[in-house]
Symmetry: C2
Subunit: 332 residues, 2 copies
DNA sequence: CTGAAAGCGCTAACAG
DNA sequence: CTGTTAGCGCTTTCAG
């Protein structure tokens, strides 16, 4: 098949150990010999067999990245951040989609373990079931989840602060009746955002009204339908905090269809700042997250664990940043 | 580290060869013994070491996927199609971003070769430099490229047919002066689309006017600027065929800003049908591509090559389908 | 049906 | 500075 160090050794006329040393920049080879070996192996088109290397060194120089779905606009930037940081350090990354499914997630983990990845970055679907990863004693970085345990490493989003800023923004610029359209109640981040929305209203002495709070699904179409219903009630909202941008898009649709002018008559704020949000035709005000950097950071934290062979307990919490675009505006 | 077949063999009280046979469903083990081994290895949490397996069997059960950029909305669906098909067949996929860069692309390939992937699916940046892949005698499926050689396997887009249908659509529904806003002239698909646009105009006895043809970049912002300029000329277009949806988004922006009503006063058609195109606020008429299926198909073709260990010369060309939304409309 | 032994390509002691 | 040897975990002959 490919060229091996044995082939090179034969050509150069040394033992294959010497070739290995030369190619790995280990001491114990004369520099002339090293140059010669490097030159010849390049000529022969040698590519190290990382499988063999990994078998003996117990390190494959690969990592696994498990996300729910790369087709969901939230994830590609994170994935790219991870990949860029990893490839810079000589790591190759396995990408797996868990498809929001706990079973599939387990399969992904098993597959990565079989491939002897050096570490895993995961945006989990359930926090409970992931004890398995701890048993593995495999370096892991969690993204978009929080653990109370002090010995797990994660990069979480500050949902509380984000939702607070978003809600307060709507209040500050003069919207009077602020509703909430959320995703599934099973989602950790959705619930945090809802709680914080409620707290913020209360802190501003605004009555919380369950009629203008709805939890549905992280889906534009469903959000559209739910919002449509909400706009038909007796005392409808004049602004909505959407639990994420996917939902905000559906809200926008329903609101414009109702003939309400955004942002003059109706304010909308989302969460995540997906690429759709900045389109000229959308211009959604939203809470922005440094997704690419989160991916990069996740790899850095993983690398630290992998290199030090010790559990790094770094726990990051990212504060989302308000991006004012054209779906909210100060009212007179 | 992990449990090995030797560990299992000791517990069961057989040789590790027998364990290997049992776990791999090879003949030569009594069914009671097989059951016992399977049961115990599950209890012990055994995960096969694919590195070791790959080293001897010369097949890693992994493939590489090289795309320009997972953050570009065109690619995630393809990637997901590949991943789903692969994982169904027990393959794990390495994802690499070449970042539209030929050097980086080479690095990706080398890295995948080192990891001894069984095959590669690649959306190449340059067709010229890929002879390297052929030397490797590695199964390869190209996506979004065409080769005249009969012995390379690819899934290409029928740019000629797509651009023809798009242009003809604008003509048929009554737009009179149809311009073209393209991406980089270096792009194979861009040029094919432009050529076919010109041919279609000529076949309809419409004069081709270079003043309303521009090639810029596959970038919404740049397309916006170019279109703005084009709308200012003496005899501006009343419709534009955009080389892809990213560009069409910029065209839309410029046209609305100019105060022209879409689709009544101005028609726009794109290419690719990225997720943005179907947003209620956008509703872009475009040429749709089955991106997910293309990914799936790419893996199937690769699998055939990997299993038969022979070059499969299947060459697919996908015809894009017209999706009429709200940026084009029959004129009276 | 089962076991012993060789070897995949490489790294890491251990000698010289 | 260089070579010899063992062995990573597994599959695959070859014997029994």
């Amino acid at each position: 098949m490919g060229v091996t160090i044995v082939d090179i050794a034969k050509v150069v006329g040394v033992s294959y150990t010497t070739v290995s040393r030369a190619l790995n920049n280990k001491k114990g080879v004369s520099s002339e010999m090293r140059d010669k070996i490097v030159k010849i192996s390049a000529e022969m088109g040698y590519q190290p067999n990382t499988l063999a290397r990994g078998l003996v060194s117990n390190s494959s120089k690969t990592i696994g990245l498990i996300i729910p779905d790369i087709m969901n606009p939230f994830f590609p930037k994170i994935a790219r951040g991870v990949e860029d940081a990893a490839s810079e350090k000589g790591y190759t990354v396995f990408l797996s989609n868990s498809n929001w499914d706990v079973e599939k997630e387990k399969e992904c983990i098993n597959s990565l373990v079989s491939n002897r990845v050096d570490g895993i970055i995961i945006n989990p679907n359930s926090t409970g079931d992931l004890v398995k990863l701890r048993d593995l004693k495999m370096p892991v970085v969690y993204v978009n989840t929080k653990f109370t345990e002090k010995d797990v490493c994660f990069i979480n989003i500050d949902n509380v602060s984000g939702a607070k800023v978003a809600t307060q923004h709507l209040i500050d610029i003069g919207y009077k009746r602020i509703g909430f359209v959320g995703g599934t109640v099973k989602s950790y981040s959705n619930n945090k955002r809802l709680e914080s929305y409620i707290d913020t209203l209360e802190n501003n002495n605004i009555k919380v009204d369950r009629d203008i709070i709805v939890n549905s699904k992280f889906d534009t179409e469903v959000a559209y339908l739910e919002t449509k219903k909400m706009l038909k009630i007796e005392n409808p909202p004049d602004a909505i905090f959407a639990a994420n941008d996917i939902i905000a898009l559906g809200v926008m649709h329903a609101v414009s269809e109702q003939g309400l002018k955004i942002p003059e008559e109706f304010g909308i704020i989302g969460f995540d700042d997906i690429s759709e949000a900045k389109l000229p035709q959308i211009q959604l005000t939203t809470m922005s997250l440094p997704k690419y950097l989160m991916g990069k950071k996740a790899f850095e934290l993983l690398l630290e664990q992998m290199e030090n062979d010790s559990i790094n307990t770094a726990q990051y919490t990212i504060k989302p940043k308000l991006i004012e675009r054209n779906t909210t505006k100060k009212r007179k």
